[in-house]
């Protein structure tokens, strides 16, 4: 009986762990005991996963976590991630989706542009955009997240495309034709304004776009 609780089953693709019974504490102890046997016997074989009819998804997830982090099994993070999702979706609390909704922290991936963006060119990206070069008048940057230009920004930049008002636009030399953050659109005044040649950051403060010099020691 005891020996039938944990069963490593080899197939031509790899090895399964078959678990019978529902006494989680007991299964845990057995696992600790028998794991070394397994490791000796099946060394190098691909681990395909855990099968357990009588355990809950949470318990399977816990076993997977133990196998990976306690016993050093080769279980990919994607698999674990997927299991997390399965488990948490039952409670309607998806930790990953949740973070994206709150429009802070998660801002997606970043696209890097190397070189000068010229008139008529448009870059639209679901995450952040970093331009290692200049953005000339008539060029267009549209990002769901932030926009950083490591050169002169003379074109139009739209950060926070989906209305994310926490996005920023920063440039080594910020001289945009027009700036848009979230759904706010601003432009430079028609009169010439005094400028200091320092990197600047544009962001929304109290519903208005403000531009402040970027001071590293601030």
């Amino acid at each position: 009986m005891k020996n039938n609780i944990l069963n490593f089953k080899g197939t031509k693709d790899g090895v399964y762990l078959n678990i019978k019974g529902s006494d989680f504490q007991f299964i845990n102890k057995e696992l600790d005991k028998r794991i070394n046997q397994y490791l000796q016997f099946y060394q190098g074989a691909k681990f395909l996963g855990v099968k357990a009819q009588d355990l809950t998804e949470e318990q399977i997830l816990e076993i997977n976590l133990m196998l990976k982090y306690k016993h050093g099994f080769d279980i990919s993070l994607e698999e674990l991630h997927q299991e997390f999702k399965n488990v948490f979706s039952k409670y309607k609390v998806d930790p990953i989706e949740k973070e994206e909704d709150s429009s802070q922290g998660e801002e997606g991936l970043t696209k890097f542009i190397h070189g000068t963006l010229r008139s008529g060119q448009m870059i639209k990206y679901d995450g952040n955009i970093v331009v290692v070069g200049d953005v000339n008048p008539g060029a267009f940057l549209k990002a769901k997240g932030n926009i950083i230009v490591l050169g002169t920004l003379r074109g139009v930049a739209h950060a926070g495309l989906n209305g994310n008002t926490k996005s920023i636009v920063a440039a080594y030399n910020l001289l945009p034709t027009q700036l848009r953050i979230g759904d706010i659109i601003v432009r430079a005044p028609d009169e010439d304004v005094a400028r200091y040649k320092v990197p600047e950051v544009a962001k929304i403060h109290n519903g208005e776009v403000i531009i402040e010099p970027y001071l590293p020691n601030k």
Partner: protein
Amino acid sequence: MDNEKLGTAIVITSGKGGVGKTTTSANIGTGLAMMGKSVVVLDADIGLRNLDVVMGLENRIVYDLVDVVEKNCRLKQGLIRDKRFEKLYLLPAAQTKDKSAVKPEQMLELVGELKKEFDYIIIDSPAGIEQGFQYSIAGADQALIVTTPEISAVRDADRVIGLLEAKGVYNPKLIINRIRPEMVKKGDMMNMEDISDILAIDLLGVVPDDEEIVISTNKGEPAVIEGKSLAGKAYMNITKRIMGEEIELLNLDSNNESTFNKIIKLLFGK
């Protein structure tokens, strides 16, 4: 607004590039607004727009011609009010698209809409005779041909006049741009008569080659506004002729005289 009103759509075209279509459009549009008319200047040069820059309105663009014809926005949203004249509006071209984005039928409909609201619609056509030219002239009632005193520009103008006639736009008027009186005098440049002879259409005006145009273009302020430069005056006269006034051609030599007079004044304190 008065819905009974039906404005005039004027296309500014040339065939050849770089002869001054955009400068002419900006100056005539502004000139008409200065004379109290309600005006839209429409940049039809999709992908290579400039009219917004020449008029100093680039930083106000949110929607453009393509957005309007594709109905991504309302017509009113696409129109940018000039910063100096209340009755002057710009409909900018799209920059990230190309000429295939607009079809002649769409332009016809758009110009029809605009004519209900404005006295004049000035259409700045792109160079060339392809699709951009075709949709630019689609809604036009009149055409102004811009040429420079060079044989290549005159040839292209001739070709365009023929194309306009084929499309049912008759009696285009001619604007000769960038003439240099001293070169004409020496016989180094085609004169007005030479050009008129070849093209055989009515001459609406002659605009001298003027440094002020470079300055005003870079400032984003059409030369008619200040009106002191010879080119600015020439454009104002053209504007008035469009409105039906009869005005003599500008004496282009007056520039030299006035400079001379200025020197005299300086020297003799007169």
